[in-house]
């Protein structure tokens, strides 16, 4: 069968392509070109996944495998659908997750359509995640076998009909096995380092990237404001709320005789709220734009394991679906619930769905069903 492999130029998607070939498929490589090389990348000072040079690597792997390779120009779309929303989220005092946006809008929507336009029946990626079909023929999404590499957190937004056309051949392997396959296949990227950064923030300097993105759209970056404690006392000043994320301890520049953490960001007041570690705990959260996989939206309260950030082990919780959103109550308080990040609901290894964290709920905020009167 004809399949498209989304190739980033890294070892994972390259191995995915090789494995699909070995199972007898007609494989086509597609690489999304998402942005142009930055000065720093040209000077070789930074590297990350999906960088422009990776288009070159992906093409090299396809040439070596003897399969067609095409580059898809998504630069405009990436800027519009991923980078600019990323920057604007900081204006709202949130800490965004652009990888999910890229998956939802580009990889598993536009690129999937392009695969279909090329006559492919499946879109294959090098994600560490698993898919299967249940007894009723419904597609299911689950975590990878290797918990340290699992990327299912980033995939909750995939539409159910899209899920049917996706395959993740690395989902039951660990990284050493993938690298071993790469060497066995003779892939030149076998020893290419893993990328952990967000592709357009290769050095990890978020604030500067946010500022330049906003400057490009004519918006102004968040301005300076006060750092306040629980009592409202001003402890100091900050250069802009985009320098802060919930749970952050370093770089506050204020002290109070005990460790202080960012508890939240008030974008309208330009205020960064700080307090004690104990005050970081939340009793639940409100999520918006929830995508339900599995059996669809639960009719009543549903016990889940909720992951509130990538690499979070998951916290036992009860979730109630609520008009496109969801309200979630943790069984035990959870630290640093961060607006803008995704919350993903699991039942064991299976992804039931997920959404975007709108706000944290305090520890004693009443019964679950009544807390749905979110603004």
């Amino acid at each position: 069968m004809r399949v498209v492999v989304a190739m980033s130029g890294g070892v994972d998607s390259s191995v995915a392509a090789g494995l699909m070939m070995e199972t007898g498929h007609e494989v086509i490589g597609l690489t999304m070109k998402l942005r142009d090389t930055t000065e720093e990348e040209r000077a070789g000072r930074a590297a990350s996944c999906c960088s422009p040079d990776d288009v070159h690597d992906a093409r090299g792997v396809c040439d070596l495998l003897g399969i067609p390779h095409y580059t898809v120009d998504y630069r405009d779309a990436f800027r519009r659908a991923v980078m600019e929303p990323f920057a604007r989220a900081y204006l709202r005092g949130q800490t965004p997750n652009p990888c999910v946006l890229c998956n939802d809008h580009l990889k598993f929507a536009a690129l999937l359509n392009r695969a279909r336009a090329l006559g492919a029946e499946l879109l294959v990626t090098g994600h560490y995640a698993r898919t299967w079909t249940d007894a009723d023929g419904h597609p299911r999404l689950g975590a990878a076998v290797d918990a340290r590499k699992d990327q299912s957190y980033f995939l909750f937004g995939i539409q159910r009909d899209a899920l049917r056309a996706l395959r993740f051949p690395l989902g039951d392997m660990d990284k050493p096995a993938v690298r071993a396959h790469a060497r066995r296949l003779g892939l030149p990227v076998a020893d290419k380092p893993d990328s952990e950064d967000i592709c357009f923030v290769p050095g990890g300097d978020y604030a500067r990237v946010v500022e330049s993105l906003l400057a490009a759209t004519g918006e102004s970056a968040p301005g300076p404001g006060p750092i306040v404690d629980e009592t409202g006392e001003v402890l100091g000043r900050h250069a802009g709320v985009h320098h802060f994320t919930v749970g952050q301890r370093k770089g506050l520049g204020v002290s109070r005789g005990e460790p202080l953490y960012v508890l939240g960001v008030d974008a309208e007041q330009r205020a960064v709220r700080v307090g004690r570690a104990a005050d970081l705990a939340a009793g639940g959260l409100v999520a918006r734009d929830v995508n339900w996989l599995g059996d669809g939206p639960p009719r009543g309260p549903r016990a889940v394991s909720a992951r509130i950030r990538y690499r979070h082990a998951g916290a036992d919780a009860t979730v109630v679906a609520d008009e496109g959103g969801a309200v979630l109550r943790f069984h035990d308080p959870v630290r640093a619930v961060t607006p803008g990040q995704a919350v993903v609901f699991y039942d064991g290894a299976e992804v039931l769905g997920g959404g975007w964290i709108e706000r944290a709920l305090p520890i004693d905020s009443g019964p679950l069903a009544g807390s749905s009167s979110a603004p």
Partner: protein, 374 residues
Amino acid sequence: MPYLDHNASALPDREAAAAAARWLLEGVGNPSSVHTAGRRARAALERARRQVATALGATPGEVVFTSGATEALHLAVAGLAAPGAHVLLSAVEHPAVFGACRAAELTVETVPVDGLGRVRVKDVVARCRPETAFVAVMAAQNELGNVYPVSAIAAAIGAVPLIVDAVQLFGRRPLDVERLGASIVVVSGHKVGGPAGIGALWVRPGLCLRPVLRGGPQERGRRGGTENVAGAIGFGVAADRLGARLAAMPRVLALREAAEMGLRCCAPGIVFHGDPQDRLPNTLSFRIPGIPGDVLLAALDLEGFCLSSGAACASGGLEPSPVLLALGLDPGEARGAVRLSLGPETEEADVASFIDVLPALLARIHSAGLTEPG
């Protein structure tokens, strides 16, 4: 594998390839050496120069071999103009001309084209100044196939030198540099069945060119570096056989017209680019509304059909073709462009199978619902 991309590179002429290969396998020596081997190499090189000169209607001493048309254009541009000089380029010149002008730090003014990509003589004349170092208008446009009135332009601009990129015209229409009236004419080996990596420029006698590649006194001091003898031999043989290519053009034209008719039938709303009156017989550029060019090219490629978007360079890159933008297309329209270019070897079956395969591919692309993501 129906190869419908002859403007990117022609199919190799077997005799030209064989001659070049023979030199690679058996040839010995550097043409600059005084010993027997060197003399033989020089003889082979000069024979190739005679062949290319004859095909151009020139004498051998006027022909300079280069590594290709890009280098030839750089030599022409940098050889005629000093930094800061005013030069006049048609808006649809090959990127090599624009690149050479940037490299030479010239002051570039462009002559606009109309919606069919036509260059008008009066538009050139109106912008030409006494101090203009040169005018560059190509003989035939690589993406559109448009043929330009270079003789009339040469006559109209008088003493101002005219650089003519004749890469696409060579072998498709008769070319006689004497009658053309240009100062420099550039051609390329692999567009006429010779190997890639060899090109040439004809330089009007008496015209002084400053070399770009300085080194030895090769090419009469106009281009340093040991000559590519095998490439020149292949180019020479291909040039020698140019008559057969030209003779095939009426048949090529009929095939292109068949392609055009077939496209009109199976792709309602199709838009053809370029000048319907004065165009190379082999080139057809089009776009089909709602069909991104890169998707159609990939879909065709997967069925074994080799075509390009605007130009081969534009297929590898991702920017919309500047040529099509110069015609007034918006970037979305320009991204829809597909170029079919035929050659003497193209058979009726190649075109027929292309037209046969197209409707199913178009239907599949339409039903995939490609929209701008985001």
